[in-house]
Amino acid sequence: MGFDLRKIGPVAWFWIGAFAVSLVLAQYAKGWSKAMGAKWLMKVPRDLRIPMKKDVSVFMDWLVEGAHFGLFTFKDLTRGLSWLIEQPYLLVKSVLVTGWVEGLGDEAVQHLPPLTWIAVIAIVFAMGYYAKNWKLAALVGGCFAYLAIFGQWQSAMVTLASIAIAVPLGVTGGLLLGIAGYRWQWFNRLLQPILDLMQTVPIFAYLVPILFLFGFGPVSALVATVVYAMPPMVRITILALQGVSPEIREFGVMAGCTGRQMLWKVMVPSAARGLMVGVNQVIMLSLNMVIIASMIGAGGLGYDVLTSLRRLDIGGGLEAGVAIVVLAIALDRLSQAFADRAPPEHMELETRFIRRHPWMLTCVLIVLGTGIAGIFATPFQTYPSVMEITTGPFWEDLVKWINVTFFDQLEAAKTFMLVTFLVPVKRFLLGLPWPWVLVLVTIAGWQLGRFKLALLCFALTLFILVNGLWAKAMVTVYLCGVSVVIAGIIGIPIGILAAQNKQADRIVAAFIDTLQTLPSFVYLIPVVMLFRVGDFSAMIAVVLYALAPAVRYTAHGIRSIDPHLIEAGIVSGCTKRQLLWRIKLPLALPEIMLGINQTIMLALSMLVITALVGTRELGQEVYIALTKADTGRGIIAGVSVACIAIIADRLIAAGSLRAKRRLGLET
């Protein structure tokens, strides 16, 4: 594949030139600016700064203390909401964890025990069978059995209780917002940036105000979870409703549907399959939040992970972490199976399906039977602790063995990566004068999306500038950039492999699912033990977490290529290699770009976590603000992360769209 210079267009020439200039600038700009007495080129001058964090803090204080609607304050409103959310939560919790309890604190008296472990396993088993087949039943039953056998039951049920509330809330809220967005264009336009912010502002940034408004405890954790997990549901709802075929709509009109009937009896049921994908996303994201939620009082598995790792009990942390994965797998497969069943009408909690089912009776019998038996013999109620097993010591010994045996080799590899890749990139980015970066980002916006995108890029970059977060933002870009490149280098080939080989696909899917739901804390600590505190450890954690979309989208992109095109390639005598490089990859490029886009989003969302191993970027700024309870500082830093995310997202989306048009995939 020889390069033909004539093929390079003027735009590409411009960027090659810009890159060359950047290289020179990064090397010498610092010296020049000093020599010319123009230090402002490197460091954003104070006069340019508009410190918004004070205003934000003042506003938040007002919201919490002063905001008034006449009869009640804003806080009364949120506290009322909090109470409303708490009631169903307490109900579910009493079914799964505490039993029916009367009284407060340690004066509580238990009237009814919670569901026994045998009963819960029987119920999920029945649901699995109902939703699909014996295989699924065995899988989900096995998942829950893991929880009992490895001694995670109590915590897992606490986590399950909060998921059982967060998911319906997120789904209902997302559905309603999505419907509103579908109906009214203006609402949709208003909604999009808010959704972007909800997804990209790190949760730590608004944790303190949430605690003020919703009180301390599980409800705040639930609210934070819903905020984080809802956006995909909204987006998918809008897409799914737009995707309902016009024939169905016309049919509804002909049948004389009222507006309401049209929506609930025609549109929503027809879009149900798409909507279930959203439900699935809400479940997965809610489980992602388990660790952070446990920091503000949700307890459960997340708390176990945190405490174990604080004691450096790697095995204990891993087992609790795997319990989260197992829970995620069980819920994910169940919800997918229900989705494939083409569920009647719209979503309800799964119990409704059971009610119409003969399995129901069996379950009731098991619940009552084991419940009564549990009163006389504890093992029926609670899994006996003597039968619990743990693999903890094994993992500890494994890490120790790797540490003692291979440390020098690992250290050498790390030093090599640092010297040849990480450090030069960091120097390059930090050496660029800010006006130059501002100009380049704006030009990129102009080329891909004309005036609107250029303005957006300019404004968001300016926001970071005036808040005096430039250096930290550049470190953020560096850390994310480096991680995304590596994630791409690893992920895209794996994706290609998975798309072409069924066997590999299955293994890869399981691996990727685990990586995404296993709390990053679990592997962060062993990584620190092997690679020490610093950028390299952070990078490994980010790559591991952000790998998934690069693999998934690549595989999806290649799989969804029109088979005729590939056949055409084979007919015209392409070798396997040519087939891949000349046909499959270019055609899958738009999808791959979207995958990279998602990788960037995930990498950015990991920043707050990597700050815990001592990186110095915006994530750290958010974290510092949290530990100092400085609301304004946290929100501004959080929004700056969102700015970077939005710029990257818009540029790549515009690029992907152009690529699609050029390939004739979309007009």
Partner: protein, 317 residues
Amino acid sequence: MKKSKFLMAALGAVAAVGVSMGSPAVASDSKEPIKLTLHDWTGQLITTKLMGEVLKKAGLNVEYVQADYIAQFAGLKTGDLHVAMEIWETTGRDSMDEATATGKVENLGETGMQAIEEWWYPAYMKEVCPGLPNWEALNECAEAFSTPETAPNGRYLGGPVTWGGFDDERAEALELDFEVVHAGTDAALFAELESAYQRKAPILLWVYAPHWAPIKFKGEWVEFPAYTAECYTDAAWGSNPDMAYDCGKPRGPIWKVAWSGVKDKWPGAYAAIKNFKVSNEEMGAMVAAVDLDGKDLDAVVADWVANNESVWKSWIK
């Protein structure tokens, strides 16, 4: 179904029968549960459970609530949470001051434990660097403490930037040939220590007590010129005439704080919490029993309560 002792035993902490011993001091206390916050390190869990169990003995209704160390102040201000048993002078001072300044949170005095924080090295490093623990020996062995990234300077692993501690300033003021690297959390900090200790590799880092690390790993604190208030404020003080921070770190108390409404709602508990005192040694032994010997935390607390009746009886008088 009626309440049964079985279920309660099975459910452990979730539901327990209130034991009423009704001492007169707490007769006027509210019957509502008083909420004590639990964080994620063993020492704090023990302190809080000790207090909680003693309050239960005094007939109070106690509830434990999981909360983040710093974020809990939001709850303490509004009265959603009531008592936090360990606020370290060294790490929680800012948040505590900010909260007490609002008048909604009250400092209930010292716990009796002293937080020690200082540069620390494992005992095997003494063979490499025999001049230790005197800080002046550090420069002679800077190379021994170095890593490829910092050589020829030594590497010192500091705590998270949020802990403060002025280690960057200290290294500069004492002209130490060390680079200060900050860990992000204490889990990361001790992960590095564990890793180095397994390999008997050189390491110099921030360790604090009461904590399991200085019990599990043999080692010593570096002896810097002792801290005085002037050292931090007056540049002229100490070996470096132009810079402050040319001394060790202060050793500060660990405080107890509470929502300001506790005084009126649970006056008996308020007094008992104020009286609460344990020493570093007692706490260290309990932390070691849990984290190193793997004993059940509640059992360790119960043991202490059983063996120190005269001590806690005096708190709730």
